[in-house]
Structures are given as structure tokens and as C-alpha cells.
């Protein structure tokens, strides 16, 4: 059943972090596979901005269908920015997208929360596959692409959000070891977003982009917010998780130990 009301059994709910996506499997009464920011057709957009790669759509498609085949969800939820081009849909997209969506549909019921890159996508979807841009509650969890103000129904819930493409840089003692997709989790300032009081905090989980060409440093998401949701994030509550669910800790834990410290040493 789609658009399920909140109030699912709290003891059963689990979130599995699928590193090979990166994607998220939300298990409550049903199993929802969440894939954010696919950006199909990114290659032709990049070509207009000076980057010429051959299309990687097929590889990306297989990465999604492999996950669906393996985890057998009750639905596949695309958390916005399924396609790349705005305001027009490019030839690459018209060619590739119908096949992509058909491949998804053949495996699991589809639900799309449209993102800022998705105008026109409704023409490729069935009516029941299209959710509100301002967010939707499915099986007790909220879903929002993240470029708009959230709908009041998301207040007090855990809300999965795309749009921000978080990427964490992890340092060791010598230097930067790796840059890797990551999650950010934290509490939202409800009044800042115009959310009604809900008796408990609204928590948000920024999910990494599935598209491998996208990524944005987590520190900048917090220090230079560019969306309503990131602007109304309570900074002191924010924590970083890796794509496999490893808790790294607060943002400050990412910085090397000497960051801004009073220690002086020869260098």
C-alpha cells in the first residue's frame, strides 16, 4: 500500500545502508529501496559544459537493478533528480529514460519524489508512481528531494532527503586518505521550515547521490547551506555516517586534529 499513514511498528523499523549503491533500504511493515539523485543523462549535460564522456547510463541502471534483485523490496523509491536536464529533456534522456523506468517497473512498484531536475518526468510515469514534490510519507518514514520546503505531514518524522550529494573527506595522520559518499543525519529546526509542532523533533537523513559523478563536501553542506532543509539544520546535532552505516561522528571529527588548534609546531 502506498502513502501509508505514520504510526508503523517502531520496534520493527530498520534502515540498511547499502554501500554498493549507495542506496538505503528502509524496512518497516514493508521494504522500501531508496535511490537518490540518479541524474540519468548527465553526460550530455556535462558535454555542454566541456566534459565529454560516453554514456554510463547502462552501468548505472544495472547497479540499481542488481540491488532490487538482491534485496527484493516492496517498492523502489526514487528520491528525486532521476534525470539531469532542466528545463528541457534532452535527446539522450528521451531515448534512455523510458527503458530505464520500464526496467525498474518490471522488478518492483515504482514511486518517484520529483526533484528540481525532474520537470516533465510525469509524462514518463504512471499517475500512481508520482509523489508530491514537497514530500511524501511512506510506511512511517518521510521522503523529500530537498529543494523545496517540506510538507507539514513530514513534521516529527525521520525524513530521507536527496539533492545534497554528500561526500566526506576522511583524513589520517599524514593526509587525506579518501573521499567517499556519506550520509548526514541531524535534527531540523521545525519553525524555521514552517513545520507544525509534532511533539518530537523532525530528523533528516541526507542520502548520498547514486550517480557516481555527483558529490559535494559534507562540511560545505553545513557551513554553506544552499537549500531550505540544509539552512534549517541544527548544526550541533549533525553527524556523519559512511555509505556502509559506519558512524564517523560529528562534522568536527572529520577534520585533522590540528585544525584551528592552539598548538604551534615547526612545519
Amino acid at each position: 500500500m502506498l502513502h501509508a499513514p505514520p504510526g508503523a511498528d517502531p520496534d520493527r523499523m530498520r534502515i540498511e545502508f547499502l554501500e554498493q549503491g549507495p542506496a538505503t533500504l528502509v524496512v518497516n511493515r514493508e521494504r522500501t529501496l531508496v535511490v537518490a539523485d540518479l541524474h540519468f543523462g548527465i553526460e550530455s549535460d556535462l558535454a555542454r559544459h566541456g566534459w565529454h564522456f560516453s554514456s554510463r547510463s547502462l552501468e548505472r541502471l544495472h547497479r540499481v537493478t542488481d540491488l532490487v534483485d538482491r534485496f527484493r523490496p516492496d517498492r523502489l523509491l526514487l528520491l528525486g533528480d532521476v534525470k539531469q536536464s532542466v528545463p528541457f529533456t534532452t535527446r539522450q534522456e528521451w531515448r534512455e529514460l523510458p527503458e530505464v523506468l520500464a526496467a525498474f517497473r518490471a522488478r518492483a512498484p515504482l514511486l518517484v519524489v520529483p526533484g528540481n531536475h525532474d520537470p516533465g518526468i510525469e509524462r514518463l510515469l504512471r499517475p500512481e508512481e508520482l509523489a508530491e514534490r514537497t514530500g511524501v510519507v511512506v510506511d512511517g518514514v518521510g521522503y523529500l528531494h530537498g529543494h523545496t520546503l517540506p510538507a507539514p505531514c513530514l513534521a516529527g518524522l525521520l525524513v530521507l532527503v536527496g539533492h545534497h550529494h554528500p561526500l566526506a573527506a576522511i583524513q589520517d595522520e599524514v593526509g587525506c586518505a579518501v573521499r567517499t559518499p556519506a550520509y548526514l543525519v541531524g535534527e531540523l529546526d521545525g519553525p524555521c521550515l514552517g513545520l507544525p509542532p509534532a511533539g518530537r523533533p523532525t530528523r533528516v537523513l541526507f542520502t548520498p547521490a547514486f550517480n557516481e559523478l555527483a558529490g559535494y563536501d559534507v562540511q560545505r553542506i553545513v557551513t554553506a547551506p544552499f537549500s531550505p532543509v540544509s539552512r534549517c539544520l541544527k548544526r550541533e546535532t549533525v553527524e556523519v555516517l559512511l555509505a556502509d552505516g559506519t558512524l564517523l561522528g560529528p562534522i568536527e571529527a572529520l577534520a585533522p586534529p590540528d585544525r584551528g588548534g592552539g598548538e604551534v609546531s615547526a612545519g
Binding site: 589520517d172 599524514v174 567517499t180 564517523l248
Partner: protein, 897 residues
């Protein structure tokens, strides 16, 4: 009959008008060869009338038979040279009734049109403007008349991708003009035959005529002191009082600093590539007229710009290469058969010994070979696109034939097929059967890529603290490596990146050398393997006097070696490698030159990073490399890694490991640009670079990146030689404490080799988080003491200061109220449950101490989980991995959400 007699009488008369006393040796030797119609490579020092050696017989040919279009093309690598050559050629042409024209980037539209309508007999141009000729309809037609192509400073071009591009262009001219005569003018090189083949292709005979330079050299080395003020005074003392001094420095920064220090003399100017054209020309003219006594210059003056007579050449710091020294000093003594006098001012111990070795090699004529880039895939891509645009469509067989006549692509396949496939993927051409067809993109690409020079957009580095621009970085470098939070070095200082926006990086000064990223201060001249080995030998034999005459210099070198002895330091030589434990890491003293050390340092860091899961920072110079390591690793670990390294695996290891480094990413972006995969004005904000290097996996772009890295930046062969000698025992390896020599390096290139998996970094991050988290300790014995602290400050065996018991519960800050609940006088069943949990918690701390406190500080880790973790008896990283595992389970569940 002398060479002069065989020239056209009009030319002989003009020679007399020009005031030539007679022909120079170079001219005597070269003129008959050219008159005989042979392809010729003429090797002679600057100022020996090299240009006329080629041009007098060419004029003879032009006067005897007229042809339509450009009859002769004169190619020089520098616009500044064009201007100079043009002045001279215009004079000759005017006297002989011929027309000369120049065409390069600065040529006006009107002049270009005139050349299209009335082609000059002699066209003077650059390799890049030559490329543009093939794009114009009329200009292409004028190419049918070409009978002579003269390539000036061919040694300079042959060693670069520009030269490889030119060699294809020469074969493209042949398509229109048929075979023409080729004349190359070159400075002394170690491999004249190979340079000749580069000029003429593998199938045409090329005569090499060489006028030796070494016999006329007068070289000396002095020690200039280690402080800059002293060095500047030394420069001043070295200047010839009669004037006409050229002072060469290795960098623009040094040139500027010297110019500043000597400015008060009033007869000194600075001359380098960053100065505007007007300033440079003005300096050249004033020097020529004798108004300036001294020009301080960089490689800008190496090529044969005519600046009149030079009495004395001063080289500031080691010239690094023998060929470079010979070429620079060759600028002195321009009167025919005069002696060229040069002085090297050495600025340190390495510099001094290196200068001595280079002087010996120069006198013995042991010059480095020019390294010709064979099979450069990006040059091939560029020229295939150029051919498609030039012809609209072209048979692959014809492309193969053109390439096959060059020395750089003698057997174009299978590389050609891969390149064509890649370019078809970028829509730079279409493949229709056996034909290549141009596309709309191809012409645009070509207009932006006429040159193989990486004409980089520069990114400004803006210091927020001082609110000023502190320098610029190559854009490709920024794209590959710089992200907010990262630290890099430029201008000898550490900077932390705050923000990267289009065209600008905002930084703040960083304090520590930790977490340091690569630095690029422009590309440095590498010291060749053979020179570094000989320096190592000189350190061993200590026969400084065999190399250097100056008593003061010998005394200084001996003093440094004595000081090493007094400190009981082991002196690294050609037969001894020392691995020294230093504050920042391990200094590996290896006398092998930049390129071989680059290989050894990178392979060691890859192995260390794989074995210990840590990043390793590397810094390299000709005699040592510094491996920045975590504190837990030392010289013994490096020694073990070096001794267990199989030389046969070096290249393979590098191919796998290089991919993660800044150097690779930087080169990859440059090559991808030349392939048209990245436009010159690409918008970097559009793409996340963390996966950039993966996008080119297994492509020919990646292949070319590796080729260039292995050919130009790394000397695997020499590194293998060194490592093999270590295994054979002919080079011993000693571990020791940091020495004077080890600490004295001025490192010229830096990089960071990250580990394959970030496991160690993740654990370090998690440890930091747990260490930093708050914990409330409360005594479960007397029930009267609690204290909030951080995990890092908890003692090994926490104890209650009130009752001295060790029954201490460790609570998370938000669980603090539970202590009061557990201490209630009257307890509900739930309260009793809480008390039981706290007692369990305290019992774990009692038996396992701080380790238990750490486990209990894991998110969602209660007493049950904690005792399970402690029960595994895991230590160190394994212990933290157990905590991570417990946290991951917790985070998946609703308790966290």
C-alpha cells in the same frame, strides 16, 4: 672551390655588404651539404652564424628557381625568435629581391590576408601557426610550393610533444609539396643521430654536421655561500667589469630576487617569460647597445635571441643538466672561434658537487640525449583530428601513410585504432568504413588545441588572512587535488583551502606540515641519473679537487663532510643508501637523481601504505626523498620494505598505485584536454572529481597518461638498477638518525599516496570521536561521587576519590539522570532495573578499566554489548572495529532513529 664560391654572385655580394670577414666553420661545413640537396642537421653553438649556414644556400636555391607559394618555411619555437630572425631575414631578402613574412599568434589580420594573397618566398613561423595554415583553403594551396623547411632550435622541439606534432605537420606539408629539403639547427646534444631521424623521419638519410663546443669552453665553479645576501654579493663579484654579462637562474623567482638585490647598480635588468614583451625587448635592445652591463635571465635567453656580444655567463646554482650548461655558456664569446667563459655559483653542498660533476661532463662532451616522445597518443589524437578537418574526410590508409613517415609514429597501429575509437566517442570524428569524417566539434576542438603546450588557465590563490593573492596554480592541478579542507604548499608556505570557486581558491595559512598535499612550483629541471651517481661517487672518494678548482669551494665541501664524520653520521654515496629517522618521517638518502628517486619514493610509499593502511606523503629531490609517515613507522620499516621489494614488480606496482596520486590526476586532466574529452573552458563546478580518474579507466587517455609519466617523470630502469644493486649487496642500506645531509634537502616535488582502503583513516576518525566524547563517571560503591569528563582524560583504572573504590559506572551524558534514579531511597521495579544496569556497567569498568569506558562510549553500546566486545579480547584496531560493528547494528534500528 670554397663554399663561398659556390653561392650565387648576388649572395656573395650581399655577404660582402653585410661585412662578413669570411665564413665561419659552421657555414663552411654546412653550405656545401645544403647546396647538394641533402637533409642536414647542423649542430653548432649559438652565434656561429648558424642561421646563415642554412639560409645562404637556401637563398641560392630560391634565386635559381622561383616557385609559387611559400618556397621556404622557417620554424622557430619562440615568437621572440621569429622577430629576431625576421629582422635579419628581411635584410637579406630585401638585398636579394626576395620576400620574407612572419606569421604567429600576434600577426595582424591584415598581414595574414596579405600573406594569403601574395605569399612570401620565406615564411617564418612557429609550429602552432603552421598547424593553422592547414585550416585555410588558400594557405593550403601555397604549401604546394614548399622546397625547404628549416627547423631552428630543433633540440628544444624534439624533446617535447610540440616537436612530435611538428614532425607530423612536416609530413602533411609533403602531401601538398612532395619531398622537400629539411634543415635542422641544433645546440649540442648527446644523441645527434636520433635528433636527425626526428627531423627527417626514419626513411630519409640525414647528414649530421657538428661544430664541437666543448673545446672552446672555459668553465669554473665557485661556492657562493648559503645566505642569499652573500650569494648576491658573489654574483656581483663574478660580473665582468667590462660589461656584457648574462646571469642565468633556474627560476623566475630567483631572477627577480637577484634583480632586486643588485638593482642599485643601475646597469642590470631582469629578463624572463613572465615579463611583458615590451619590457623584454627593451632590455634586449639596451643590452645589445651596451647600455646594460648585465641581464639576469632564465631559460628565456637560452635560445638564440640575438643580443650581441656576451663576455661572460654566470650560472646561479647548479644548471642540473650538462646540455643546459653548455647551451647557456655557449652564449658567451660570440666572436667567431672565441672562448666561451662561464662561472657556476654553487649555493650549497649538493649544488657544489653537482656543479663540479656537470663541468667535468661538459668538458668531456658527455651531454644528455634529447628525450623524444615516441607514440604520444594525445599528439596522435590532435593530428588525426587535424587531418580530418584539413581534408573533410580522409582514408585511414592515407593517415597511416602520413604517420608512418614520421620518426615518432613509425608504426601507427594499434595505437591509431584506439585513438580513433576514443575520438569517435567524443564526437571529434566519425568513422565510415575505412574513412574518417570531420564533425562540427572537430573544428572547434582544433581551434582551441592548435598547440600541444598545456596552455593552462591559472587559478588565483587568495589568502583570506592577509586579503591578498599569494600566487597562482595550474587549473589541472587544482581540479585533480584541491578540495576544501585540504592543505597544500605554494611559495614555500602551507595553506589550508577554505573555498574553491571559479578561478579562485580562498586559503588561510596552515600551521603544520601534517595532512599536506602536493605542491607544484612549476616544473623543475630534473638532475639526470648519471650526474647524481657521479655526485654519489664524489661523496665517497672525497676527491673534490679533481672536479673543482676554487680553494674556498673545496674547503667548504670538505668541511661539510668532516662535520658529518664528527657527528658520526653515515655519508650516503653511490654505494650507500642511508635511511634516517627524522621528525617528519624517514629521509631516504639515495644518489639517483629526481626521476629514479621519484620511482623509488612512490613504490616505497605504495607498499608502506598498503602494508600499514596509512597515507604516506612524499617529497623528492635528486639525492634524497622524504617519506612522511605516522609516528609508529620508522627507518627500519622502510628498510624492510626496500629489501623485500622485487625490482621486477616496480613498474607494475606503480601502474596500480599511481592512479590515486595527485601527479596522475593532474596529468590525466591535461591529457584528456588534448584528447578533446575536456574542453579548455570546461566548467569544473559541474563535476565531482572524486571519481574523475575512474572515468578514464582502460581508455587510451589513461594509457597516454601512464606513457608520459613513465617517460618524462620517472626513470624506472635506473630505479630497478638501484634496487637490484641493493639486493646484490653492491649498495648497502644503513638505518640511522637524521644527519646534516639528510636534513638539508630542498624538496622540489611533493605528493601524497593514499592507501587503497580508508580503513585506517576511518578508525582514526572514530577513535578521535570517541576520545573526544563526554562521559559521566559515577561511583557505584559510596554513591556520592560523579564527574563529567572526556574519554581521553579517563585514567587507566578509574577510582572514586571519595571512597577509593573502583566500582565506577561510565554513563553517556544523556544518561546522567539515571545515577539519581539508581540512588533513590525507595525504588520502583523500573528503578531497580536501572540500578542493576549501572552496577553491571560499573563491574565491567572494574574488570577492564578504561577499555570498558571506551567501549561503553560507543553509540548504542550498553553493558551487554560492551561485555561482548571486551570478551573477544580484541586489542588496538580490532577492538575499535568491534565497537564500530556494534554501532552499525544499533544505527540500523529504530532506537537510533
Amino acid at each position: 672551390m670554397t663554399a663561398l664560391d659556390r653561392l650565387d654572385p648576388r649572395i656573395r655580394q650581399t655577404i660582402a655588404e653585410r661585412g662578413f670577414a669570411g665564413l665561419s666553420e659552421a657555414q663552411e661545413l654546412a653550405i656545401p651539404e645544403v647546396l647538394a640537396g641533402r637533409h642536414l642537421l647542423l649542430i653548432a653553438p649559438t652565434g656561429t652564424g648558424k642561421t646563415e649556414s642554412a639560409m645562404l644556400p637556401v637563398f641560392h636555391g630560391l634565386l635559381s628557381t622561383k616557385s609559387a607559394g611559400f618556397s621556404a618555411i622557417y620554424i622557430t619555437p619562440l615568437r621572440a625568435l621569429n622577430r629576431d630572425i625576421l629582422l635579419r631575414m628581411e635584410w637579406w631578402c630585401a638585398a636579394l629581391g626576395l620576400r620574407a613574412g612572419v606569421r604567429h599568434g600576434d600577426t595582424t589580420q591584415a598581414e595574414r590576408r596579405r600573406q594569403a594573397l601574395h605569399p612570401p618566398d620565406l615564411l617564418i613561423t612557429t609550429p602552432e601557426s603552421l598547424q593553422a595554415l592547414f585550416m585555410g583553403k588558400t594557405l593550403k594551396r601555397h604549401l604546394t610550393g614548399v622546397r625547404y623547411v628549416i627547423v631552428d632550435e630543433v633540440h628544444e622541439l624534439a624533446g617535447s610533444k610540440r616537436g612530435a606534432q611538428l614532425s607530423v605537420a612536416l609530413e602533411r606539408i609533403r602531401t601538398y609539396a612532395g619531398e622537400f629539403q629539411r634543415i635542422g639547427l641544433s645546440a649540442t646534444v648527446g644523441n645527434p643521430g636520433e635528433v636527425g631521424r626526428f627531423l627527417c623521419g626514419p626513411h630519409r638519410p640525414c647528414r649530421v654536421v657538428a661544430v664541437p663546443v666543448a673545446k672552446s669552453l672555459d668553465l669554473s665553479v665557485v661556492y657562493a655561500g648559503d645566505r642569499f645576501e652573500a650569494q648576491a654579493r658573489c654574483v656581483e663579484r663574478a660580473l665582468d667589469p667590462s660589461g656584457s654579462n648574462l646571469v642565468f637562474t633556474n627560476t623566475r623567482v630567483t631572477a627577480e630576487a637577484l634583480g632586486h638585490a643588485l638593482f642599485r647598480r643601475g646597469d642590470i635588468e631582469v629578463h624572463h617569460g613572465s615579463l611583458s614583451r615590451e619590457v623584454r625587448i627593451d632590455a634586449e635592445e639596451r643590452f645589445k647597445r651596451g647600455e646594460l652591463g648585465t641581464l639576469i635571465c632564465t631559460s628565456s635567453m637560452e635560445l638564440g635571441i640575438d643580443i650581441g656580444h656576451v663576455e661572460h655567463v654566470v650560472q646561479f646554482g647548479s644548471p642540473r643538466e650538462v646540455a643546459r650548461l653548455v647551451q647557456r655558456v655557449g652564449r658567451a664569446g660570440h666572436r667567431l672561434s672565441a672562448i666561451s667563459r662561464g662561472t657556476i655559483l654553487a649555493t650549497g653542498f649538493d649544488d657544489l658537487l653537482e656543479s663540479g660533476v656537470i663541468v667535468r661532463r661538459a668538458m668531456a662532451g658527455e651531454l644528455e640525449p634529447v628525450r623524444i616522445p615516441y607514440g604520444a597518443a594525445d599528439v596522435l589524437a590532435n593530428q588525426v583530428a587535424a587531418l580530418a578537418v584539413e581534408h573533410g574526410e580522409i582514408d585511414l590508409a592515407q593517415v597511416r601513410a602520413i604517420l608512418g613517415r614520421t620518426a615518432v609514429f613509425p608504426e601507427p597501429d594499434p595505437l591509431l585504432e584506439r585513438v580513433v575509437a576514443e575520438m569517435a566517442g567524443h564526437r571529434l570524428l566519425r568513422v565510415e568504413g575505412d574513412r574518417l569524417v570531420t564533425t562540427a566539434r572537430a573544428r572547434r576542438y582544433l581551434m582551441g588545441n592548435l598547440s600541444m603546450i598545456h596552455d593552462e588557465r591559472k587559478v588565483q590563490v587568495f589568502d583570506l588572512a592577509s586579503r591578498r593573492t599569494v600566487g597562482t596554480l595550474d587549473e589541472s592541478f587544482v581540479v585533480g587535488t584541491i578540495d576544501p579542507g585540504s592543505v597544500f604548499i605554494t611559495k614555500g608556505q602551507l595553506w589550508r583551502v577554505l573555498e574553491v570557486e571559479e578561478g579562485r581558491i580562498t586559503v588561510e595559512p596552515a600551521r603544520r606540515a601534517k595532512g599536506e598535499l602536493p605542491s607544484w612550483e612549476g616544473e623543475q629541471i630534473p638532475v639526470p641519473f648519471a650526474v647524481a651517481r657521479e655526485v654519489g661517487g664524489l661523496r665517497r672518494t672525497r676527491r673534490i679537487g679533481d672536479y673543482i678548482g676554487s680553494r674556498r669551494a673545496i674547503h667548504y665541501a670538505e668541511h661539510v663532510l668532516d662535520e658529518m664524520d664528527r657527528n658520526r653520521s653515515v655519508i650516503p654515496t653511490d654505494r650507500t643508501i642511508t635511511l634516517e629517522n627524522a621528525e617528519e618521517g624517514v629521509v631516504c638518502n639515495i644518489c639517483a637523481g629526481h626521476r629514479a628517486n621519484e620511482v623509488i619514493a612512490r613504490v616505497l610509499s605504495l607498499l608502506l601504505s598498503a602494508r600499514y593502511g596509512t597515507s604516506v606523503g612524499i617529497e623528492i629531490d635528486a639525492y634524497r626523498c622524504l617519506l612522511r609517515l605516522p609516528k609508529s613507522l620508522g627507518a627500519a620499516d622502510v628498510q624492510e620494505t626496500l629489501l623485500s621489494l622485487d625490482p621486477a614488480h616496480i613498474r607494475g606496482l606503480l601502474e596500480i598505485g599511481l592512479k590515486r596520486t595527485a601527479l596522475y590526476k593532474w596529468k590525466l586532466v591535461q591529457v584528456a584536454k588534448k584528447f578533446g574529452a575536456i574542453d579548455p573552458d570546461a566548467d569544473y563546478e559541474r563535476i565531482s572529481i572524486h571519481r574523475l580518474s575512474d572515468l578514464f579507466d582502460r581508455t587510451v587517455v589513461q594509457q597516454e597518461t601512464y606513457r608520459e609519466l613513465f617517460e618524462e617523470y620517472m626513470d624506472v630502469e635506473s630505479a630497478v638498477e638501484i634496487v637490484s644493486a641493493v639486493h646484490a649487496g653492491t649498495i648497502e642500506v644503513v638505518t640511522t638518525q637524521v644527519s646534516l645531509l639528510g636534513a638539508s634537502g630542498l624538496f622540489s616535488s611533493r605528493d601524497l599516496v593514499p592507501p587503497e582502503s580508508a580503513d585506517t583513516a576511518i578508525l582514526a576518525t572514530v577513535k578521535r570521536r570517541i576520545d573526544d566524547s563526554e562521559v559521566v563517571l559515577c561511583c557505584m560503591n559510596c554513591r556520592r561521587w560523579k564527574q563529567k569528563t572526556r574519554v581521553s582524560r579517563v585514567e587507566e583504572r578509574p577510582q572514586c576519590p571519595v571512597c577509593s573504590a573502583r566500582l565506577i559506572a561510565a554513563l553517556k551524558p544523556w544518561d546522567e539522570p539515571l545515577y539519581a534514579v539508581a540512588n533513590r531511597k525507595t525504588k520502583s521495579p523500573e528503578d531497580r532495573e536501572v540500578e542493576k544496569r549501572l552496577l553491571r556497567n560499573a563491574n565491567i569498568v572494574l574488570s577492564s578499566g578504561k577499555k570498558a569506558v571506551i567501549a561503553l562510549s560507543g553509540r548504542g553500546v550498553g553493558p551487554e554489548h560492551a561485555s561482548r566486545i571486551l570478551g573477544t579480547l580484541a586489542e588496538g584496531d580490532q577492538f575499535y572495529r568491534q565497537i564500530l560493528k556494534a554501532e552499525r547494528q544499533y544505527i540500523q534500528t529504530r532506537h537510533f532513529w
